[in-house]
Symmetry: C2
Subunit: 154 residues, 2 copies
DNA sequence: CAAAATTAAATTGTGTACAATTCAATTTTC
DNA sequence: GAAAATTGAATTGTACACAATTTAATTTTG
């Protein structure tokens, strides 16, 4: 087994990106068993969180909130519709827009989902402060990246 | 547009998981234009980082390092093979195992990839210290989750 | 040593992600 | 006010993720 000397800065364990990628997938994996009884995948759960906050958003508005485009959201929302949790219908004011509304089942699912965050917090083994500071650091990072996507002049 | 009062702990912006998920996708998106000239996707780049560190790993070993299973790696590695960057062949000692080896092209791609981390670091707008501490915090989180996947007794 | 158990990849099926294109509906501009 | 530009979803195509199953090879056991 030949070992090739790879420079420090190319080592996997040095990469912030991999730490992020691995942590994100690990956390998602931890949600899976909690969400399965609700019949939701993790991205579907995020979409429901948004709708529970504000019902009747359009696909575009939902996409802005979750930072996902219609290519991802359209099939996801169709699955939520097939599961009887939301309805999708064109806006009368502007027929290009599709409005997503919770059904009664979709709204009442919030009760069951309500136990999820505390359950996760416990598994994460972080204090409230630790969770908040990590979360805020990540949000700052995300915001930073979206402000300077390539640093090019127009 | 009806607003439903959703409890604090169910608000999207409160979720550490969403901050992680969004940050991870943002960072991946920032890599895309840097990796495109190399002909690599982001997960392919991670696999190449591992192989540049240690050539001749099996699919299983690569999977342990990246925390990905054969369902993800097999097609990814076939694409790297199709791109002429790696070879895949059964081990003689144990024919169940498939050994992944860099081709000359795969090895020499490291020179071009060498510029990527510095370029990313600049875009992330974080000091070396900030990057390291965030990375280590995420690694600790990931390790924590993998140690206690469900807190059940055997 | 042969049957049973285990292991490593591959395969299958579902569900994201995201670029690129298409299509229809609305705005803008001339 | 009609042609051109823009916008919002949907669609298409590629590439992950990951659960579950299958297949083949190796170990373990009786």
């Amino acid at each position: 087994m030949k070992r090739l000397p790879s420079p420090q800065h190319l080592l996997l364990d040095q990469q912030l990106c991999f730490a992020l990628y691995a942590a994100s997938r690990s956390v998602t994996g931890l949600y899976r068993p909690l969400l399965e009884p609700l019949g939701l995948t993790y991205p579907q759960y995020l979409a429901m969180l948004v709708l529970w906050e504000q019902d009747g958003l359009t696909v575009r508005e939902l996409g802005q909130r979750l930072q996902l485009d219609s290519g991802t959201l359209t099939p996801l929302l169709k699955r939520l519709q097939a599961a009887g949790l939301v309805t999708r219908q064109r806006r009368l004011e502007d027929e290009r827009e599709v409005e997503i509304r919770l059904t009664d089942a979709g709204l009442s699912l919030r009760e069951q989902a309500s136990a999820v965050p505390a359950c996760m917090a416990q598994r994460l083994q972080l204090s409230i402060d630790q969770m908040q500071s990590l979360r805020d650091e990540l949000k700052r990072l995300t915001r930073q990246l979206q402000l300077s996507p390539s640093e090019d002049s127009p």
